[in-house]
């Protein structure tokens, strides 16, 4: 089972060590962790993707919530979360397959960021699934290097047509 936690923290030095340290120390699995500023200079948002059984996941949420710097933890597991990820991928582009590769790049709508005689580097962004798709599409050509940001996520604003209202009277 996977879970996305969207964590708002006080922007203090060491806050990432506290969050990351907690997760590893208590033996939880981290699939990805991504941190960045928010509209409020004092507040950072960390998106943590973790996996484990239900009990473990409940504990992660509670333990993270207990950290002094944590202002709020949102568990996006059950909701339609808006997610996004970005990756840079360098692929071998030698010989006859070059054309085929360029074709795929266009097809997948990837952005070229570097072209060499023997390689290309592309950027992909979108949901984590579109990054996964690009990775598996490019893999047969030989991936030389890859950097993924890890997932970032937000809960859909309340009232969004995509959020299912649990207490929908029509159901």
């Amino acid at each position: 089972m996977k879970k996305i936690l969207s964590i708002l923290v006080r922007n203090r030095p060491g806050v990432l060590s506290h969050v990351a340290g907690l997760v590893t120390r208590r033996g939880y699995n981290v699939e990805s962790i991504a941190a960045g500023p928010t509209q409020d200079r004092e507040v950072t948002r960390i998106t943590l993707v973790t996996s484990g059984d239900a009990r473990m996941l409940e504990q992660v949420t509670k333990q993270v919530n207990k950290l002094i710097d944590v202002i709020n933890v949102e568990d996006l597991e059950h909701r339609e979360a808006m997610t996004g990820e970005l990756a840079l991928i360098t692929v071998s582009a030698e010989g006859v397959r070059r054309a085929e590769l360029l074709n795929l790049v266009t097809l997948l709508g990837l952005t070229l960021v570097d072209i060499r005689e023997d390689s290309l580097t592309v950027m992909v962004s979108g949901s984590d699934m579109s990054v996964d798709m690009a990775v598996s599409g490019l893999a047969p050509f030989g991936i030389r290097a890859m950097a993924r940001t890890g997932l970032v996520a937000l809960a859909r604003p309340v009232g969004s047509i995509l959020v299912q209202d649990k207490e929908d009277p029509w159901c």
Binding site: L8, R10, P13, G14, S17, H18, G21, R25, R55, E58, Q59, K62, Q63, N65, K66, I68, D69, V70, I71, N72
Partner: protein
Amino acid sequence: MNQNNKSPQVAKDDKGDRKNKNGRPGGRRPRNGAEAIIDFIKSSKIDLVFGYPGGAVIPLYDALYDSGVRHILTRHEQGAIHAADGYARASGKVGVVLATSGPGATNLVTGLATAYMDSVPILAITGQVALSSLGSDSFQEADIYGISIPVTKYNYLIKKPQTLPSILNEAYYLASSGRPGPVLVDVPKDIQVAEVTAAPQRVDIPGYDPRPKPDVRAIDSFVEHLDNAKRPILYLGGGATIANVTEEIKFLAESQDMAVVVTLQAKGIFPDDHQLCLGLPGMHGAKYANLAINESDLIVGLGVRFDDRVVGNVQRFAPYAKIAHFDIDPAEIGKRLSPDTAVVGDLKEALELVCAKVKKKLRGEWRERINSLRISHGLVFPDGHGEIKPQRAIGLLSEACGPDTVLVTDVGQHQMWAAQNYRSLKPRKFLSSGGMGTMGFGLPASIGAQFALPEGQIVLITGDGSFQMCLQELATVMQYNLPIKIMLINNGCLGMVRQWQQFFFNRRYSQTIFNFNPDFVALAKVYGLGAEAIDKASEVSNAIERMLSYDGPYLLEVKILEEENVMPLIPAGMGQTDFFELEEEGR
């Protein structure tokens, strides 16, 4: 050395000048970081601090020198922090400890972990190398900020002088509020000498709720469970000690006929001699306590962690019981087992609500059952053949001590014998490292307890192993003239580990027997304590009498057989009634 002038300086205010009345060399100059720390200590009404100086805190100790702040110099930083811990446990106040950078700071780690596990409020202030050399492996540099993250409730590395006053305030507040715990503030040396004019700001930590309000519906659900229960048990933990709920528990137990089991951290919250008290549950609890848990239909955990030493095998804990769990820390709910009803919040507030709602309910059958279990499955130990039985010696000590005596223990068999056989009647009178089980805790914690209660009687029960882990603090005992009484149970071995080797490793005593021990009586006398040793059962009462009436610190060495064991015993991870039975060996 005020190099930090790039940091934002708060507009100068006159408060910074108040130090100058000390007539410090250098005449009038603004307050520095070290003096800001001293000002904080004074304004927080901290009556004393424990500590040990070193290069990175020389400015701090200089500011302390003629400040009027009382400082207790131990002989090891571990001693200082355990003393601060003992002080905090005995008084309920925050224990404060100072140490230098590098080895001074790392020597605090065991003490931080000990306090963290038992939720003891401690403020540790460490010196650090100057910011300018931070991160370059300079002399006596250790990343105590990083090291202490897992063993503190929160920690800080000060980077801007003007944040110091606010951070100290916040640290103190965090240590003492909510579920208490140790907080560490690391102060680089250049911050200690930098100008600090800022006044502390109001503490504001969004997302930190030290007093969650108990949910009234949860209370109602609990009251309903309780009303339906025929064989309810209160299971008390350290949270009950911290929340100071003696009255509420007494009312609840008596008005509902609930049996009460008491963990190490709660000992004394409910009097050990009460008819409803079943004492220690779990691994070394009396059989009647565990049998009662096994028969119970409602276990009510108050400020407990459902620790593995109590619960054993989670699947087999209290098989017929519904579980209710009260705790201030939401992360404790469901951590080890999922309760049927849970109340998150301040325990006092929650219990007041409960007490107002419950109707008196007598459970005569349950009471009778408990009494008969107590008789049929009591704590028993053999009489012996003239040698001293530690259980009996501790029982006699218990009789000789009053309800206000503070009993401190170290860690091992003697600790469990004390938990089983010493009667505590009041809270905060039995101090023991429970969660961490830190050998060496006892002597320095006794020192701290004596400072918390200068007129109080402090008695330490220790073992020959544990005692030698912080032995150096005998010098502190003497320096401050503390009349601590030490009962050293000497079995010539690391008894608790030896016992496990005897039972589960075929008596292969790997590194648990001391082939050398000092002459403890001579050793104590060298430091200046009164001391004697006994090894006959007939001598115990009089020796205890002599120890307790001695004017000053005293060590009573009680020599016992090597193969004394703590019984009963439920092996780790086993069910509530899987008592380990020693095979007859004709001993």
